[in-house]
């Protein structure tokens, strides 16, 4: 198999941009190339050119393409120590000044992070005070997330994370297992609004006390990270919190000075300037 050339990628992103108004131009090259290669292998295209032609001609296929190139690998309570900080410091701090709390999961994927948040808030007794919006670029994965339906094989890791998080109960309290599938308790997410939204060119649609955008911007190059961070910043109340992945950093971004680090280990920032 020939390696994908950068020119091929440029051509592909150009076609997608013109035809569908999705902009992958400033995605991180290393991972984007791998994702494209993955689609080529999966559908057995002879070349990038064949993939481009199919995308041009077939809008239904384009949506499958979006689902396949989007990275949807996640865990419940990923980084348990992060969740402990949110529970013990961030939520109580927000609740000091507000009766309600608005939360945005930006790039929620299959919903594990949203269920983790709901479980945490329920155990804190404040789930009914939370207004949660969960968005993703991939409509198909949102439909999956809404259902709260997971494979049993992933639950072992989720359980381990929950135990390390030191929840008050057992993760089993929140789901039923039937016919080899895990059905999450949907009352947990009864008040969650799930929306299709593209971080790259989607509008600023609300303001939040807490934005979680963990391991999403790692798929963007620095130019795009800058743009998206500006959008996230606009979507936050002053003194609101932003959580990114444990190995991401804001320090290179142009508007880094509008945030302070609240917890460097868990990468939680606070907006201090409009």
């Amino acid at each position: 198999m020939q390696d994908i050339e950068i020119a091929d990628i440029r051509n592909l992103t150009q076609v997608i941009k013109e035809r569908y108004n999705y902009d992958f131009t400033n995605y991180a090259m290393s991972s984007f190339k791998r994702r494209v290669q993955r689609v080529i292998d999966l559908y057995k295209f002879a070349s990038v050119g064949h993939l481009v032609s199919r995308i041009k001609e077939d809008p239904a296929f384009f949506h499958d393409f979006i689902s396949e190139i989007t990275v949807n690998v996640t865990e419940m309570f990923r980084d348990p120590s992060f969740w402990r900080v949110v529970r013990d410091h961030i939520i109580p701090n927000i609740m000091l000044n507000h009766d309600t709390i608005s939360i945005w999961h930006a790039g929620c994927s299959s919903g594990e992070e949203v269920f983790s948040m709901s479980i945490m808030l329920k155990e804190m007794g404040v789930l009914n005070k939370a207004k949660i919006i969960a968005t993703d670029i991939d409509k198909e994965i949102l439909d999956k997330a809404k259902k709260g339906l997971y494979a049993v094989k992933h639950m072992d890791l989720n359980e381990k994370n929950y135990i390390r998080y030191q929840g008050t109960g057992s993760l089993k309290d929140y789901y039923e297992e039937r016919e080899g599938k895990v059905y999450m308790d949907r009352s947990l997410v009864a008040n969650v609004s799930w929306r299709e939204h593209n971080l790259v060119n989607g509008p600023v649609f609300n303001k939040f006390d807490l934005v979680l955008c963990r391991n999403v911007m790692i798929y963007f190059n620095q130019t795009l990270q800058n743009e998206v961070l500006k959008r996230l910043h606009e979507s936050m109340f002053k003194y609101g919190y932003l959580a990114i992945g444990s190995k991401e950093s804001l320090i290179w971004c142009e508007i880094a000075n509008k945030f302070i680090v609240v917890n460097n280990e868990e990468k939680i920032y606070k907006k201090i300037k409009e």
């Binding site: 090259m29 791998r34 994702r35 990275v71 790692i218 798929y219």
Partner: protein, 197 residues
Amino acid sequence: MNRFKLHNRYKAVVIGGSAGSFQGITRILSGIPQDFSLPIIMCLHRLKHVRNGFTEALSIKSIKPVTEPCDKENIKKGQVYLAPANYHMSIELGNSFSLSTEEMVNNSRPAIDITLETAAYVYKDRLIGILLSGANRDGALGMKKIKERGGLTIVQDPADCMIDTMPAAAMQLTEIDHCLNIDGIIRFLIELDKQYK
């Protein structure tokens, strides 16, 4: 004396390792010159959920601190980097790191193949790849890519490995320039460093 026929156009050294490689790695990191000239980029299999402790353990004897890069961090000369837990680590054009949470590759995240392959793409013939002891086949494909792009390939001599599956898999898949024990790898790196002084 230049038995490895080295030159000073290499830009980076990438090292992959898995089961049985920890001791070898610490010996390498304590045996090379303090002011080693090139970045050393390591991808070692490690526990996914344990974020802390590994760099500290490696740093104890290392000639310089081992750091886990953040996403999009620039690669600097003479630094020692380790792929963080539960992330794949790629090299980007423009000489920076990219992290990702994509599916596991070869049952691993970080996967050695990903680090080696992206490094091969960026550094081409200016790269040295070293594959150490390990119990699976991760890294073999990455070494092949390094060779295809003109880089230099080194494996730990299977006889010197605690578990030789990984270097043996690479030797089967591609041409290996040097098959060395850990002392040999240290001598190689010392000689390499002399080209830059």
